[in-house]
Amino acid sequence: MKRELFSVLSAAALFLAADPLLAHSDKQGTTPVHGAQLTETPEMIHMVFDDPMRITMVRLVNADGDEMPIERGAGLEPSLEFHAEPQSLLPGSYTVEWRGLASDGHAMQGSFSFELTD
């Protein structure tokens, strides 16, 4: 019985150990930071990663879901930084949505928002 209990506890430990996402300690800071209130169009949309990320898709959308033009400043190569330049924006809420491929093969996605006021 002791051996069975040992096995059960060990299996539970193994389960804990093998969970991939427990090892994730994702944090994100961006420029603009999420929830920022700005009075003028940001000069740059900027993200920094602590491990090379291949950004495969990024878009800037307004509150209606319309896509705003941005100019990517980086290609598809894995990089610790990504930046893009938006064109002049009208007041309103905007969201940056991105997807990418991490170096360990994980497909990643994320988004952050900011608001432009008069």
């Binding site: 096995s7 430990a13 991939p20 427990l22 090892a23 300690s25 990320m53 495969t56």
Partner: protein, 321 residues
Amino acid sequence: MLAALASADAVTWISILVKTLAYAATLVAAGSVLVWLALRELSADGRASLLRMAVVAALAAAVLSVLRVPLRASFLMGGTFDGAVDPMMLGIVFDSPLGTSVTVRLIGLALILAIVLPLRGARWIALTGALMACASFALRGHALGEPRLLLGALVTAHIVGLAFWLGAFAPMSRAARTEAPPIAAALVHEFGTKALWVVSALVAAGAVTLVLLGAADPAALTTPYGQAFLVKLALFAGVLGLAALNKVRLTPALQSAATGAAQRLRRSIAAESVLILAILATTAALTTVTSLPSEQARVAPQQPKTVQAVAHASGDFPWLS
């Protein structure tokens, strides 16, 4: 994670479904070979049935695994069909760890098919294939951290154990349904005995993995990942409970040919299968909507400078992955 799932597009949902089924089919294909080789109490009909299971599961696993490449490409392009057929994006995915993993898995699955060949060494070819299919899980995620070789070996060992467990469900259920109680009881008893050793053999692997990954951080349980992990842990507790029930109550009942014992055992195995499928689905969801940086950013203080710490000591380790 729920928020991410709620806003997930169709491609993300399809990816989760395909990934879940690919996990299950690969594990059953490899596990069928392991069980075929390891359980001496299998009847002749049971062996023939298990061979068919291995072949069907291997073919299904191959199709599902290949499908993951265009699905990943589509996801990376925002969930569009154009992404799924974009040569450049397909190339990027194929060059990523996922591409390597799928390639190794396909070779392994092809070798598993050798089990039906009338060759003297066919079983060893199939065993090699089963081990390769299991090792394919170690070619991304967790196992890409350091020490890479050790982590890869631990992940592979873990998947081999899981495959053996899953691979035994169908033959045990079949035996309980079609074989005489003493024959079915002998098979279930043999599995119970060997499964205990398999789990015990994984103890060291689990402990070392835990230490190497430093994953036992209670603070992680406050994150969406941690909360989803608790769901998986609850499901896993259910699996272990049923496994214990099978060994302690249902196997002796079957050995004594108690009325309804076979039916109860089959129901228990079916419930175990559903729980494990739920674990695989939860894992697939977690590893597909690995989006959560943004979710966590919304509850975490922002850094003055942009920082995203994506600790890639993790991966598509299904099960417990």
